[in-house]
Symmetry: C2
């Protein structure tokens, strides 16, 4: 599909519906799951775990899709590229994107496999453990990439998760090339620690080749990428290679380095951590919105922290409050 | 299916997944919807409304099924009879029942129609407006009724909603007859005001024939059933016809009359009303649990109010907290 619209952000990501249930630490231990981790599971394992886990709520998810939801709520024009199956969860995902004001026109493919789902177990402290059955999300074809749309956009947002399968990786490469031919900056989220073990060389090549304009990661991911336990030396080595580097540090706040300038903020205070799912994704929403709005590096980080704090105060990875009002109350 | 288990409560109800979105009063007005109301819509109308409503969360619902979820969390043995289709929402509903510890063995039927869904719009004050596409839920056949299981149960819980279609009505009649042949009490929820306009004579016949042991309704429903605007005279006339009458009055609390004894309670204080969906259903959970546990009429009402208060403090009609701990903290 070709459109004349100019979007602030076009994102490529996994089209996933989250299935979110509470779980005791005993249950996590009995399943051999480490609280806070993410793993990929196949369809059979998903059925088996679903049978054992508690009653759940279904809420649309997916890392880049969550980031777009926050950006859209903040008033930025967004389009999404991802793959759903023609089933009920695919309808749910598609509805939720469009109902948030996000353009999403990649046609559903006939299943099987079904639309991707992520079985998420929430520990009593709000920490999430994700068990992702990617199913149809990993069938995103390169033909789904609208190169004109990307070339005209301000940012192309890519989640590293999607590098982990041949078809979506080819789609991402096509999208990155279109961004570089146009005036579109590439925002790349490293997504998960386990990806560094498999694709570290790929990601370093993307960085060294000047493809990535903004690299988004957490402290563990940056350490794994630069193969050092010393966060400061990892940041020093990496920040000279990318125009903008953003590192989130959970309860320890976040920092960013951009063209020699460095900014650092503390985490927001949250009355009760209900569910940490989507905290990093919605941090991205706020940070990127700040950059689009021409705010300072520190204020962009603060916007990220405000959005992340809203996210972890309720179940599900998508915003429920008026993020713009929350930001305006703080930064004007 | 026949089982030797003896359940505290067997319920017959609509097998529904709720699709819950926030909505402004302007949106409700533009859709011609009255906040707090419930209406039935067909598949096409459901698709059209879904297209216009905001991003949503999917949570299993259905009036009697919600009541069972509360009873199960309170530790009572429950079984459910209702009809889902063999689709993803049917899997969600089935999972959530079983994961709550409720026996649910009615086989899914091949669709179309799909599993029932209720599009629920939540106003800023937490009041819900329900738009129900009953679809497969109304195909519940009389053959799904396990008469032995019902005859051995302590209570048969029936939602009036299901009277509104020929097949489920036949199923309910078979279940009621099985209850009367056994030692099972019939708990009947009037469910909705609109049903009084259609089935008032049917319901009065059930009452006059001594089929109903506990009648559960709200103040509007009892007024419509007894065709009077005077709540006290409606209660006086009705309470001599049923062994137990329970009338909920929203923020005005609730009352019950049982064998000449009358009890009345105030509503619980709720910090913030998030979503009133399921408040009446979970009131039923608490009240019926109190009766099963041999508590006084007033304490049974208080248990109902505690469960309803927990329900309206979060999105969705099913309990999220440990209801037993909440009850024990109050009543011991």
């Amino acid at each position: 599909m070709t459109t004349d619209a100019r979007y602030d952000v076009v994102a490529i990501g996994n089209a996933i519906v989250d299935v979110i249930a509470s779980a005791s630490l005993d249950f996590l231990a009995s399943e051999g799951l480490e609280s806070g981790s993410m793993r990929l599971i196949d369809g059979d394992a998903a059925v088996a775990l679903y049978d054992r886990m508690g009653p759940a709520r279904e809420i649309s998810g997916g890392s880049a899709a969550n980031s777009l939801a926050g950006l859209a709520v903040l008033g930025h024009a967004c389009a999404f590229i991802g793959q759903v199956a023609d089933d009920q969860l695919g309808e749910v995902f598609t509805h939720d994107m469009r109902a948030t004001g996000i353009a999403f026109d990649v046609p559903a493919q006939p299943g099987p496999p079904p639309t991707a789902r992520c079985l998420i177990l929430i520990a009593p402290d709000g920490e999430r453990t994700m068990n992702t059955a990617l199913a149809m999300a990993h069938r995103l074809p390169a033909s789904a990439i609208d190169e004109d749309m990307i070339g005209r956009a301000k940012y192309l947002l890519i989640e590293g998760y999607l590098w982990d399968a041949p078809e979506p990786q080819a789609a991402i490469k096509r999208a990155m090339a279109a961004a570089k031919r146009g005036r579109c900056k590439v925002f790349f989220a490293l997504s998960a620690l386990y990806l560094m073990g498999i694709y570290r060389d790929d990601f370093l090549s993307l960085i060294d080749d000047g493809i990535i304009d903004t690299l988004f990661c957490n402290d563990e991911e940056v350490a794994a990428l630069m193969q050092t336990d010393d966060l400061e030396s990892a940041i020093a080595a990496l920040s000279v290679k990318v125009p903008t580097l953003v590192v989130t540090r959970g309860a320890n706040g976040a920092l960013a380095v951009q063209g020699g300038e460095r900014a650092e903020i503390a985490a927001e205070t949250v009355a009760r951590v209900v569910d940490t799912t989507g905290a990093g994704d919605t941090f991205t929403s706020g940070f990127l919105a700040g950059q689009l709005e021409g705010r300072s590096l520190a204020d962009s980080l603060t916007m990220g922290a405000i959005c992340a704090a809203e996210c972890i105060g309720h179940y599900g990875p998508r915003p429920e409050a008026d993020l713009r009002a929350l930001v305006d109350a703080r930064l004007g």
